[in-house]
């Protein structure tokens, strides 16, 4: 895989202005080999599950739903450098096809990487929901060692389909994670997503969502909880191509240590997309004098009868609030944790599935120590 690093996007590209992939170049990534893992690593969730270990479907640990199968389908063309790399090196991924009118409940899709020596993974998943179909997908990435996980997910929702997509990026401390998610959303369909970004030394989640039919709806929320020297980038492009669609985005960045959070969000409203309702908000909480946030909320609007707004706020915890909590007897670290938890709460709004919610709450809980110390 020697040519791997030759075509990495550079910072001269506007889309990569704030994220530098050159750290990848200090590793010689090899192709992964299958590995066995302890089933204790899997979260305790009562649902069908699809388990990938080092990019290979672990049939023993998986409980495949009827609609899922391993697949090495053609990659849809894209001009994104990392999606192209994924297409070139792609590994078989899961294909989930929910038929029309089926409520498929919840599925766990978990990707566990076990890297002795550095490995690179290029899974390509496809999730398609038929008309009026429904699915909750809990999408977890975790692992150990140094690896580069560069998954691409192609999501398509037919008319009136509903997908709740909860992502937990909890990769190993030394890992690189660069995920690209394409979502094509038809009329009256709804894509609800929340990404919790906890792990990796350098990560990026890049969404390209297209609202292609009237009345489509998208929620693209995220929370980044970073410490140490972590760098995490959340980039999204939401294209409103049809009228009467709504997009909502709340991204919260909590940055401790020397970490750096990046938010780049663009709402594009095409001429035809009259009556668009677009909202986008990035809020960052800087917990340390060495943390940095770079935020670029962007609007690109070609229709006149739309309601679009965006905002960004950056600040530290409010000393008045901390004092109020402490005056009621709550010790300072706990007071800070409460306020941080409250700060990200709004982003969690789309997570309505109980098990998913509990899982994410636990993961957030687990991140306090690195943030509040």
């Amino acid at each position: 895989m020697s040519d791997l690093l030759a075509n990495l996007p550079g910072r001269h590209l506007e889309a990569w202005h704030y994220t530098d992939l050159k750290a990848l170049k200090s590793f010689a990534f090899a192709a992964p080999a299958p590995a066995a893992i302890d089933s204790a690593l899997l979260p305790d969730l009562a649902m069908n599950r699809i388990v990938f270990v080092n990019g290979f479907l672990d049939e023993a640990l998986s409980v495949l739903p009827a609609w899922a199968r391993l697949s090495s389908h053609e990659a849809t063309k894209s001009d994104l450098p990392l999606a192209i790399l994924n297409a070139q090196h792609r590994q078989a991924g899961i294909a989930i096809d929910i038929p029309d009118d089926v409520d498929a409940g919840a599925i766990l899709l978990i990707s566990i990487s076990q890297a002795g020596a550095p490995i690179a993974l290029f899974p390509r998943h496809r999730i398609s929901l038929g008309r009026n179909a429904k699915l909750t997908l809990i999408d977890i990435a975790q692992g150990e060692g140094v690896y580069w996980h560069n998954p691409v997910s192609e999501i398509s929702l037919a008319d009136a389909a509903q997908l709740s997509h909860y992502r937990l990026q909890d990769e190993a401390e030394a890992a690189f994670h660069t995920a690209t998610i394409f979502a094509d959303i038809a009329a009256s369909a709804a894509y609800e997503s929340f990404s919790l970004v906890l792990g990796g030394q350098l990560s990026r989640a890049e969404f390209h969502a297209r609202l292609g039919g009237a009345g489509a709806d998208i929620h693209l929320n995220a929370a980044q909880l970073l410490a140490g020297t972590q760098h995490a980038d959340f980039t999204s492009v939401v294209s409103h191509d049809a009228p009467h669609c709504a997009s909502r985005q709340t991204v919260k960045s909590v940055l401790a240590g020397h970490s750096r959070g990046v938010f780049q969000g663009r709402i594009e409203v095409a001429r035809a997309a009259q009556k668009t309702d677009g909202y986008q908000m990035n809020q960052a909480l800087l917990l340390s004098p060495h943390a940095e946030i770079d935020s670029k909320p962007e609007l690109e609007i070609f229709a006149d009868d739309v309601k679009c707004s965006h905002g960004a706020t950056i600040g530290a915890l409010d000393p008045e609030q901390i004092f109020y909590l402490r005056s009621r007897g709550i010790p300072e670290p706990e007071a800070r944790a409460m306020l941080i938890r409250a700060f990200i709460d709004e982003a969690l709004a789309p997570v309505t599935h109980d098990q998913a919610r509990a899982l994410l709450e636990r993961a957030i809980e687990g991140a306090w120590s690195k943030l509040v110390s």
Partner: protein, 483 residues
Amino acid sequence: MPAIAETLDTVQQITGSTYKYGFETDIEMEFAPRGLNEAIVRLISEKKGEPEWLLAWRLKSFAAWQKMEEPNWARVKHPPIDYNDLYYYAAPKRPAPKSLADVDPDLLAMYEKLGIPLNERASLAGVAVDAVFDSVSVATTFRESLSKVGVIFCSISEAVREHPELVRKYLGSVVPAGDNYFTALNSAVFSDGSFVFIPRGVRCPMELSTYFRINARNTGQFERTLIIAEEGASVSYLEGCTAPMRDENQLHAAVVELVALDEAKIKYSTVQNWYPGDAQGRGGIYNFVTKRGACRGANSKISWTQVETGSAITWKYPSCILQGEGSVGEFYSVAVTNNHQQADTGTKMIHLGANTSSTIIAKGISAGQSNNTYRGLVRIMPNARNARNFTQCDSLLIGDRCGAHTVPYIECRNPTGKVEHEATTSKIADDQLFYCRSRGLSEEDSVGLIVNGFCKDVLKELPMEFAVEAQKLLAVSLEGSVG
């Protein structure tokens, strides 16, 4: 919607005649040969009788420019510019006037026609004017009364001759020659512009203003403005710009540098009304301008206010470098685009010092088939303790063939910093229009009223003498779209 469509039709009929500054003045001119090379740079310097150091600076800038490429990140499109097909120097043939009495009467008449009387008795009360015609300054009014309090207000060419130590100290100190493609070009071939120096403790007793006029065909205008406010000084400065209507595009690449020392205040207002091109998008000025102010001193303040209605393309980001502790940067902007105009404008607020604060209020109005982009950077550096920024960007779309874009870059590296950015996009609501019309206003007046209301936060920052003018300008600029 139907109401607007109707107005579109009615008003479409009066287009073409809307740019009232589009006349050409027949003045005998002297041109440098067409094209750009080292010899031209030397010639410009020689024409102006410049010292050796300035020529050397120009040549260095020219060498740098040759190695640079035109920036392409802005949301503007234009056919490639042939930099060798332009005149870089054009001046009225008459020898430079020694006083207002010597100014070519034809020129005086032209400025009268533009509403800028240069005759001191007839001029706007309390406003001193420097008039720049193509490549040279033709007149500066009220110099005497200003010099009594120690204020220097003259053309930059004259400042090079009369106050070389000041020019040498500050020229290029805020905007380095090699800052970008257009600053390098400007530094090589800049022709004229204004120079303002307000000494320590002096409040400039009147508004200063420069009036820029491009007249000659195929001529680029590359003016250079330098304003220095020493400790405790303050000044309010306004520039206005117009150009004749022509089918070809003309290039304007100016550089403005402001320096504010301790407790100094500079207010810089622009009413930019270069010829925007016709309804089909033919002609108009390419306005590629770099404006930057350095708040070097503690508690200094630089405030930019701009009303941008003209130019085929506007590429302009008046910025503040907030270095002095407690310094303040402000940017108030109205940008109107109509027909095929393209504007990519905004600001940069670079917070370096502690307790610095900045405010950005930007209003974009797009009509016709135009594109209007706000692009702004707010950067809080690690040493900028307790820095504050507030940004509000609002876009108004008139008609459904235009575009409105907002591209903020927000970078914060200090936890005590506080940054807030808000942006909205809307249209003139039918019920707002109806409400006004039901009170008896015509539709055009209603739109004018609503647009002015939308821009109020910015317009109120303009010096009073110009606020009314600016309001009228807004209405005129939107003619042919709705009102």
